[in-house]
């Protein structure tokens, strides 16, 4: 069994040597360098346009944040914010309103008779 394994080992080594011979180094084609530079440039232009897009996005986000910040920092002129809830409630339901405070007038006319 071991001798068989050893035999296979040798044969595998021989096969791998034959494989090396069967895969000779090819000559590079005339287009190798032009194609390489074409790929480099296309990758660069992709990266460049991506960077430009990212920059534009960041600029827009910063501008929006500043605009929101400015908007939030402007004091509101709405009077309801200057009063507390209780004050606002008291104002809305004041007891001085004549129709609630004034006495009820009963009209005792003769019509019912």
């Amino acid at each position: 069994m071991n001798s068989m394994r050893g035999h296979d080992d040798e044969r595998l080594d021989a096969l791998l040597r034959a494989y090396r011979d069967a895969c000779p180094t090819p000559e590079p084609s005339a287009n190798f360098m032009p194609n390489l530079w074409q790929r480099i440039e296309s990758r660069q232009s992709f990266t460049f346009s991506f960077q430009r897009m990212a920059n534009a996005f960041v600029t827009a986000a910063v501008a929006l944040s500043i605009a929101l910040g400015v908007y939030m920092s402007i004091p509101r002129s709405n009077p309801s914010y200057s009063q507390s809830y209780i004050e606002a409630l008291a104002d809305a339901n004041t007891l001085d309103i004549p129709e609630y405070v004034s006495p009820v007038r009963l009209e005792l006319s003769d019509s019912g008779r």
Binding site: L16, A18, Y19, A22, C23, P26, P28, S29, F32
Partner: protein, 195 residues
């Protein structure tokens, strides 16, 4: 080292002439390695260009001259690995692909009986590719670099940044798997002959 570090520094500063010189110095070696790693002549240039493309965009990360070659080798290994993974998705190499005829060819290769014509080379390539289907793409590349490219364990250590013992274990296991696949194909052939 085939180029001096000054040239690399110039290339790092986007000097395209310097980068061209680096490519010309290593192009053939990279083409040879990729040919043996992927065994598909029609795609070799494409993968080699991918290696140099990755080199171009990562050159500025290089700090010392000594690491340049192992680093270029690593880029080669990674590009070949990516290619093989894509290929595996397209076409699975199975052990059943190793026909009896291919085993006979392997035997003949051991004895040097057959002439090295293109047809024979193609069959040898196919046989080895079928055998290498028994291991993962990563192990296949490691095995190729050691057994076919003839890189030493020290060189592999620099490429993979893994200690020598771990590499030895991994190589041993990968070789055992390939050997087992080879053994079963050879047994199939022997039983076929005895019938």
């Amino acid at each position: 080292m085939r180029v001096d570090f000054e040239l690399i520094k110039r290339a790092q500063k986007s000097d395209s002439a310097a980068f061209n010189e680096i490519v010309l110095a290593y192009r053939k070696r990279i083409l040879g390695t990729i040919t043996r790693l992927i065994a598909r002549p029609e795609d070799v240039e494409d993968v080699a260009q991918e290696v140099f493309l990755r080199l171009y965009f990562s050159l500025d990360q290089l700090r010392t001259a000594e690491v340049f070659e192992p680093w270029l080798h690593r880029l080669t290994v990674n590009a070949a690995y990516d290619y093989l993974r894509k290929q595996r998705r397209r076409q699975e190499f199975r052990m059943s692909d190793l026909s009896e005829q291919q085993v006979m060819l392997a035997d003949a290769a051991a004895g040097g009986k057959v002439e090295h014509d293109e047809q024979y080379r193609k069959k040898i390539r196919e046989s080895v590719q079928s055998l290498l289907g028994a291991v993962s793409e990563a192990d296949r590349i490691l095995l190729m670099l050691k057994e076919v490219e003839g890189l030493s364990l020290k060189e592999l250590e620099k490429i993979y940044k893994v200690n020598e013992n771990a590499l030895k274990v991994r190589l041993f296991r990968a070789r055992q798997r390939v050997l087992k696949a080879y053994g079963s194909a050879a047994t199939k052939e022997r039983t076929g002959q005895s019938r």
